[in-house]
Amino acid sequence: MADKPDIARWVDEEAKAIGLPIAPEYRANVIVNIERSLAIVQPLLAVELEDELTPLPVYRP
């Protein structure tokens, strides 16, 4: 990622936006988990999808 996001700010602002109070003692670990999610999601973000590829409205395996 070229510009590393400010995850602490992300957590504070997004939590405010959705009305989720995050107590100070939980905040550091929420940030760690967002960082972990960012690392794990990269292979998905790297995939290019055709415009026609919509989600399955009724999922059948």
Binding site: W10, G19, I40, V41
Partner: protein, 460 residues
């Protein structure tokens, strides 16, 4: 013949003995309750034992009622299944303040209709967001093969109770690997059926897109017997299939003739400890499988499964995270909170990608009938261990025990986890994966491996 009141008895052996009058259901239940009392201080598998109910049911069976293929078989369920008269804990403290279940979950009712006897509810990771079997409220379930080690989760109590021989049969749930991971770490056979195959009615949800229910046992026959008894459409679960049931017992002993078996390469051949690849090699050799196949974009599939899980799970619990954060297990709370803050674009992309990945994997299943892959990247870590080194990389235990199971449940494929165990080592499992609705092929392969003595599950 195995003593039907012993811990080594399988469900099939107990049912045969009770049905034929060689054993009394009540004697089986009393022996089971005694074993539970003796094992619990070590394994911590049960959160609820319904002794009076089990004895009552056993007496009815001994009087000739409730006869079926599982007559007199004691079983227990992960405590996210509704048990009439109890709160459905789902591993949480919060749900103890919730409603008392008015009736049993659908699969509990189906097993009891087949003659089985419920003896209790089992420990699990809070709200099923777990691969370890640890729980801050109820204590960790402990691996019967080495109580200092994890059972795996989130169906940790299901793994512990079955591997300790407390009961021959348990039910668990599997959203990302929660049947297959404890099966691997506890040395059990576990079946995660096709998505939608078994009703989820009367169970506490986690991630609707991936939630599956299924059995854990010490023999493939017990998996097949219980799976057959639980199949069938249920209007109370909108995802439950209306396909006719496939009676897997009928083909269980047909062997592997005609089945094309591949070994998952690429993503599934790296990132784990040597023991997990040795387990796959052992199973592949026994099956005469040599062909390597690639599930394309498996790393992206794992990422997508992670995102959908984090976001659906967080949305489900958002109200409780706002009002009772202090009552969550510290190991799930901040993960749920983080999931609530992830971008919606990730979720939609993950769902769109699922369609592409499903199409590509189904194409692969035109060339093979079965794919083999590791179940877990390592055998049981120590209880309390938070980091592990896999293939030279230090990784979080919680997020990574399911790296090989997540890309499979992501598209709802049926899997039987089969146990292997090298001398002097802890057990480790292999996934036997089939195309949708072909549980019978995976069970046939597992039965063949069991018959050959390659995959054996012995109570600790």
């Amino acid at each position: 013949m195995t003593d039907p009141t012993s811990k080594a008895a399988t469900a099939a052996e107990i049912a045969r003995a009770v049905s034929s009058g060689q054993a009394k259901a009540l004697d089986v239940i009393e022996a089971t309750l005694k074993r539970i009392d003796a094992a619990e201080p070590t394994v911590n598998a049960f959160t609820d034992v319904v002794a009076d109910r089990a004895r009552r049911r056993a007496r009815e069976i001994d009087a000739g009622q409730h006869q079926g293929p599982l007559t007199g078989v004691p079983f227990a369920v992960k405590n996210l299944f509704d048990i009439k008269g109890l709160p459905t804990r789902a591993g949480s403290k919060i749900n103890n303040d919730g409603p008392i279940a008015k009736r049993d979950g659908a699969l509990v009712r189906r097993l009891e209709a087949a003659g089985a006897i419920l003896v209790g509810g089992l420990n699990m990771g809070e709200y099923a967001y777990d691969f370890t079997g640890e729980n801050a409220h109820y204590g960790p379930s402990r691996n019967p093969h080495d109580p200092t080690r994890m059972t795996g989760g989130s169906s940790g109590g299901s793994g512990a109770a079955t591997a300790a021989g407390e009961v021959p049969l348990t039910l668990g749930s599997d959203t990302n690997g929660s049947i297959r991971v404890p099966s691997s770490l506890c040395g059990l056979f576990g079946l995660k059926p096709t998505y939608g195959r078994l009703s989820r009615a009367g169970s506490f949800p986690f991630v609707d897109a991936f939630d599956h229910l299924g059995p854990l046992a010490r023999s493939t026959k017990d998996l097949a017997l219980s799976f057959d008894a639980m199949q069938g459409w249920d209007p109370d679960d909108p995802v439950c299939t209306d396909r006719p049931a496939d009676m897997t017992m009928l083909s269980l002993d047909e062997g592997i003739g005609g089945l094309r078996i591949g070994i998952a390469g690429d993503y599934f051949a790296k990132g784990g400890e040597p023991e997990c690849f040795e387990a796959v090699a052992t199973v592949a050799k026994a099956l005469g499988a040599t062909r390597t196949v690639v599930l394309p974009q498996a790393a992206a599939a794992r990422a997508a499964a992670y995102v959908i899980t984090a976001m659906e799970g967080a949305q489900l619990h958002l109200g409780r995270l706002r009002t009772r954060p202090q009552d969550f297990d510290g190991d799930t709370r901040e993960r749920f909170m983080a999931g609530a803050l992830l971008p919606g674009a990730w979720y939609v992309k993950a769902q769109r990608f699922r369609r592409q990945y499903r199409a590509n994997v189904l194409k692969l299943f035109e060339e093979v009938d079965i794919v083999l892959a590791p179940a877990t990247p390592c055998s049981a870590p120590r209880i309390g261990q938070t980091m592990m080194t896999l293939d030279g990389v230090e990784l979080a235990v919680r997020a990574n025990l399911g790296v090989y199971t997540q890309p499979i449940s992501f598209i709802g494929l049926p899997v039987v986890a089969v146990p292997t165990r090298a001398p002097g080592k802890m057990p480790i499992g292999v996934q036997v994966i089939a195309r949708p609705y072909n549980e019978s092929a995976a069970l046939r392969v597992a039965a063949h491996l069991e018959k050959q003595g390659v995959c054996v599950s012995t109570p600790a």
